[in-house]
Amino acid sequence: MLELRNITKRFGDVLANDRVNITVQSGTIHAIIGENGAGKSTAMRIAYGFYTADSGEILIDGTVCRIAAPRDAIARGIGMVHQHFMLVGPMTVAENIVLGAEPGSALALGVTTASADIRRLSGELGLAVDPDAVVDHLSVGQQQRVELLKALYRHAQLLILDEPTAVLTPREVDEFFAILRGMREQGKTVVIITHKLSEVLAISDEVTVMRDGRVVGRLHTKETNAAELARLMVDRDVLLRVDKPAATMLGATTLRVRSLSVRAHDGAARVDRVSFDVRAGEIVGIAGVEGNGQTELIEALSGLAEASTVSGEIRLGDQDITRFGARARRELGIAHIPEDRHRRGLLLEFDLAENSILGVHYRKPAAYAGGILLDDPAIRRHAADIIAAFDVRPANVDLPARALSGGNQQKLIVGREFDLRPTLLLVAQPTRGVDIGAIEFIHRKLIALRDEGCAVLLVSAEIEEVTSLSDRVLVIHRGRIAGEVDPKAATVDEIGLLMTRGH
Amino acid sequence: MDRFTLFLRAVLLCVLVPAGTACHRQRDSADDPSRIHVGIVFDIGGKDDRSFNAAAFAGVTCAETGKWPKGDTCGKPALEIVLRDIEPGNPTSIEPAMRAFAERGYDLIIGVGFAQAPIVETVAKDYPRIHFAIVDGVSELPNVASLIFKEHEGSYLVGLVAARTSRTGIIGFLGGMDIGLIHRFEKGYEEGARSVNPNIRVIQNYVGVTDAAWNNPGKGKELALAQIGKGADVIFTAAGNSGLGAFDAVEQAGRVNGRATHFVIGVDSNQNMVKPGFVLTSMVKRVDNAVYAIVQDVVNGKFQAGIHVYGLGQDGVGYSMDQYNKDLMAPETVREAEDAKKKIIAGQITVTDAMAK
C-alpha cells in the first residue's frame, strides 16, 4: 500500500531521516516504534505531506507519487491523526468533520447531508459518536474517534496514528484497539507510531523499529518479543526492572501527614483523611488507578492546592507547613517533579537556561542585587551544569524547552529539582511519555538520591515502576489509603485488587 | 525607495491589467503655481456634516468652480483657484494638517471652527507670509482674518418668529455644548421672543459639556420631548447633530388638521427640508458667503487681517424662507421679522451679544 524509499530529511545539522525504507502492507496494522527523536514521526509526516523529503520517493500502491502537501496525501487516501487533536471545540462533530471537506458549497448545507454519512460510518465501526454533539463536551477518547472519522470521511484507506494512546486511559486503549481491528477487517491499513512495547505486541501485525533516524529492524510481530524490540530501540540490553539495594540509611521521619483531606469545589473529598509518614532515605510509592486523588495529594503537599480546600496537618521535620505556600515549601527543601511537565513543570516557550531556574529564579545563583536582577552568565552556567549532569540533549541552553523531546524535557526537570538538594522529593509519573533510555536514567537517579538520605514520595500509574522503585507501597483508592504492601513480597495481582476495589 | 516603488509598480501592474483603467488626473494639471492655492482644514465633523462644515465647503467649492458641491450654480463667479481640503478626524491632526498646506506654500489656509483658533495662531506665527482665516474664532495676528458671525442677530429674528407662532406662550431652546458661543444664540433668541411677547417663557437645555454634545441626537430628542411636555411648541436648536433629535421629537408630536402642532427651528445651514412641515425656519449662518469673500479678497490681493464680522447687514446671518416653510409662517410675522431686520441693520435695535465682554 505505502512504501517509503530511501527517504532522507535533514533539519539543519540534524539528520532526522537517513535513507529510511518502510513498507506497509495493505490491510495490516503496522507499528513504527522507536525512542523519542528516532525519526518515526518525521517519516510519517513526510508520507502525509507535512514535510517534503530532501531525497527519496514515496510509492502508493506501487506507483511513485509526489506528495507536497497534506491535501495530496488525502487525495490519495492517506489520513493522519495527530497526537494533539485538531478540532474546533465549540463546533459539533459533524461540523468539525465537514470543515475543510465540504461536500456542498455552503457549510450549513454540507453539515446536514454529512450527518447521515457520519452516522453510517460511525455505526459500521462501532464508534458510537453522535454527529450533533459539541466537541468540547466529548471525552478525550471520543475526540480521538472524531479524528478517526474525519480521516475516514475523506475516504482514507490508510490511517497514520501518531502516539494515539498517549491520551487514553487503559480502558479506552482496549476499546480503541478493538476499533483498529475492526478497521483492519474492513480492509483499511493502519500505521501506528508509538514507543510503548506492550501496545506494539498487542495490536500490530508488523513492526518497523527506528533509531537515530534509521530503520534498524523490520519484524513480524508474532516472531518477536519485548526484549528484542527494546534492544533494537536502544541498542543495548535494557533493565526493565530496577536493581536496587534495599534502603540502608533509614533516617528520621521527614514528612508526616495526618488526616489530610482535599476537597474539590463541589465539596467532594478528593483526598480523604489520609495519614502516612515518609522517612529520610526511603522511597514511598503511591500506587493507584489514575484519578483516585494522587494529583490532589501531591498538589496539597507541594503547596499548590488552594489553601481553603485543604484540611489536616502536614509536617516537615518538626515544622507544621500546612499553611505554607509553594515558595516557602521549596525553601524548606521540598522539591517537586510534577506529573504533567507541559502543564506544570516547564515554560515551553522559554529557553533551557530560563527553565533551569524556575522556582529558584529569585535567589542565588540566578539573581543578585537583592533578588531583583538576573545574573545571565550564572544562569547559563547553572543550566549547563544540569544539562551536563543529567545528559539533556541537545545540550544547548538557548533552545526553547518546546524543542526538546519528552525524555529530555523530563531530565531537565529532574535535574533542576535534584539541584535543590531536597530533603523531600515529591515525584509524580516521572517516566510518563519518556523513552526507555531516559526511564532507566531517571530511575537510577531517584535511587541515588534516596541513598543520599532524601525522603522520596513517588506516585506512578505503572505498578511495575512503583513496586520496583519503592521501599514501601501505599495503595490509594478513592482518595483513601486502601493499604500498605511490601513491594518485594506482593504480587501485581494483589496490588491490582487493592487499586481497583480498595480492599 | 526607488526599488520599492519599482516593485510596487510591478505588483500593481499585474493587479491592474484586468481593471484596465486610465488614471484620471483632471485637477492635478491645475496645480500650477500661477494660481492662488487655497487649503481648508475642516473640523472633526468633516465636510459632509450638513451643517457648519458643509457650509464652509460650499463656500470654497463655489469659489473654485462657481457651483455648489451638488453641481448647481452658486450665483458667483469661479475664482480660478487651486483648492485642497483636509478632514483631520482627530484633534492631534489639525495642526499638522494646517502645516501641510503651509509647508507647500499655500496662499490662503482656512481653519473651520473655534477649536482651531489656537492652532491657526501657532501655525500663522511660523508662516507670517501666508494668509490664514479662522471661521468662528478670533486671532490678532497680522496675517490672520477672523470670520465672526452675529449669531445673536439671526437668533433674535427667529426668536421673534417663534414667539409669534407659539400658541402656548412657551418656547424652547436646545443648545449643544454649554459654551459662550451658544449662549450668544440663546440670548438673542430670548430677546427676540420678548420683543413681541414680554411674558413668554423660554425653556433652555444643553446636551452636554464636552465635544460629544454636538453628536448625540438621542439625548437631543429626549430633551426636546421634555420641553414639549412642559408646554413648549416651538424649539430652536443650536446643537449640531444632536439638534436632529428635536426634529424627530416635533414630528412625533404629530399634526392636527394637516398642520403640525409643534415646530422646530434649524440652525447654521438651511434645514427646512429635513422634516418638511415641521421646520418653522432655520437660523442660517452664511459661512459660505464669508469663506467665498475671504478667498475673493486673497485672489484680488485685498486680504485684510483682523476681525470680519458677518451680521444681518453683511448677509452673514438670517432666517431661511423657501417652499418648505412658506405656508407655516404667517405673512404678518414675516413682515414683522423683516421690519426688525431693518431696524437691527440700521442700529435702531441692539441685540445683546452674550460673548461681548
Partner: protein
C-alpha cells in the same frame, strides 16, 4: 521553521534570542503583512480613481522628508511607542490591556494637574513631579483592573474597556468644571508652569526647526524600550511576569504568585501608557486638551501585535504607524479622491494580515490556533 532552529545552536547570544523563532522568521510576516496591505491599498486607490504610485510616493515622501516629515513621523510614533510597550508588557504577562487609552488620559490630566498646581516650582522640582504624576496615575489606573482580576477574577478586557469610559468622563468633568480657563470654549485646562516644559529636539539638532513638536519624550520612549527589555528579560520581576503569561500553572509551581504578577504587569503597563502624558502635556501642548488622543491606546494594540510583542519590534511598528499618520494627512490633502481613510484601511489590513499570520505559517500554527480556540 521551529525545527530549523532546534538544529541551529547559536554559540553567541543575540539580543533577539527571546523570539521563539529566528530573527528572519519574526521579521518576514510583519513585512509580508505591510507589503500586502500596501498592495491592497494600492488597488483601492486605483478604484477611487487616483494613481497608486503617486499616492504612495506622496505618503512616503511626506513622511520621510527632512525635517518636517521625519520630525512629525517620530512625533506621532512617540505615544505609540509608549502604548505599544504598555500592551506588550501586559501581553507578556498573559493579560490583554485594552485600557491604555483610559490610562493615558488619566495620566495626561494628572501631568497637567501637577504642572498647573505646582507651576511656581523650578524646573528641577517640577519636571520630576510631573513625570511622577504621569507614571503614577497611569500605573494606578492600570493596576485597578489587575487588582479586580486578582481579587475577583473579573476579566481584564471588560474592566479595562469600562475604565476607559470612566477615565474619559472623569477627566472631561475636571477639565470642564475645575481646570478650564474661564470663558474658554475649548475643552482644555489652563497652561502648565514653564518649568515643566520639555525641550523640543529642534533645540539640539541644527537645521531642525523648533516648531516641530518632536521633543525629548521621543528620547524617553527609546529609553523606555531599552528599560522594558531589561525589565522583562533581566530582572526577576520580568521573569515572573513572563512566566505567568507563558504558563500560569508552571509559574505557580515555581513559587510565583500569579495574582501579584497580574497587578504588577498591569501597573507597569499603565505606567508606560501614562508616559504618553509626558509627550502630550510636557512636550507638545503644555496643557491637557480634552480628546487629544487619536486612539493611541487602541493603536498601541496593533503596534504591539505588529511588533511581535518585542520592544524593538514595537519601536519599528510605532514608526511605521507614525509614518502612516503623517503621510495620511498629505494623501488626504493632495490627492483628488483619496482621503485619510486610506491610512485607516492600510492599518486595518496590516493588523488583519498580522493576525492571520497563521495562515502563512502552515499546519503547525493553524494547529496551535485551533487548540487555542478550544480554551
Amino acid at each position: 521553521m521551529i525545527l530549523d532552529d532546534r538544529a541551529r545552536s547559536a554559540p553567541t547570544r543575540s539580543p533577539f534570542r527571546h523570539y521563539s523563532d529566528g530573527l528572519l522568521g519574526e521579521l518576514i510576516f510583519p513585512l509580508i503583512a505591510v507589503l500586502a496591505a500596501f498592495v491592497v491599498g494600492g488597488v483601492m486607490v486605483l478604484v477611487v480613481g487616483d494613481d497608486p504610485i503617486q499616492t504612495y510616493r506622496l505618503l512616503l515622501g511626506s513622511a520621510l522628508s527632512w525635517p518636517d516629515g521625519i520630525g512629525y513621523t517620530l512625533f506621532y510614533a512617540t505615544p505609540l511607542i509608549f502604548t505599544g510597550l504598555a500592551v506588550l508588557v501586559a501581553f507578556r504577562g498573559g493579560l490583554l490591556n485594552i485600557g491604555a487609552e483610559g490610562q493615558l488620559y488619566v495620566a495626561a490630566f494628572a501631568t497637567a494637574w501637577a504642572g498647573i498646581t505646582f507651576a511656581n516650582l523650578s524646573a528641577w522640582a517640577l519636571l520630576p513631579l510631573c513625570f511622577l504624576a504621569a507614571i503614577l496615575a497611569g500605573a494606578v489606573w492600570g493596576a485597578i483592573p489587575g487588582v479586580l482580576k486578582a481579587r475577583f477574577g473579573s476579566h481584564e478586557v471588560i474592566t479595562t474597556i469600562m475604565l476607559n469610559f470612566v477615565a474619559v468622563a472623569l477627566v472631561g468633568y475636571f477639565t470642564q468644571y475645575h481646570y478650564k480657563a474661564p470663558g474658554d470654549p475649548i475643552m482644555q485646562t489652563t497652561m502648565i508652569g514653564g518649568g515643566a516644559h520639555i525641550a523640543r529636539l529642534g533645540r539640539f539638532i541644527p537645521g531642525f526647526p523648533e516648531r516641530i513638536p518632536l521633543n525629548l519624550s521621543f528620547v524617553f520612549a527609546l529609553i523606555a524600550c531599552l528599560l522594558v527589555h531589561l525589565f522583562l528579560w533581566r530582572t526577576t520581576w520580568g521573569y515572573e511576569i513572563r512566566a505567568t503569561g507563558s504558563n500560569p500553572q508552571a509559574a505557580e509551581y515555581g513559587g510565583i504568585s500569579i495574582r501579584k504578577q497580574m497587578v504588577l504587569a498591569m501597573a507597569v503597563s499603565g505606567a508606560l501608557a501614562g508616559m504618553v502624558g509626558i509627550n502630550e502635556v510636557l512636550g507638545y501642548r503644555y496643557r491637557h486638551y480634552d480628546g487629544f488622543s487619536a486612539n493611541y491606546g487602541f493603536t498601541g494594540i496593533a503596534v504591539a501585535l505588529l511588533g511581535r510583542n518585542h520592544p524593538v519590534g514595537v519601536l519599528f511598528a510605532a514608526m511605521l504607524f507614525g509614518m502612516m499618520i503623517r503621510g495620511g494627512i498629505f494623501v488626504d490633502a493632495f490627492t483628488n479622491n483619496v482621503t485619510k481613510d486610506l491610512v485607516d484601511v492600510l492599518q486595518g489590513i496590516v493588523i488583519l494580515f498580522v493576525a492571520a499570520e497563521a495562515l502563512f505559517r502552515g499546519p503547525f500554527a493553524s494547529h496551535r490556533l485551533l487548540k487555542r480556540s478550544k480554551i
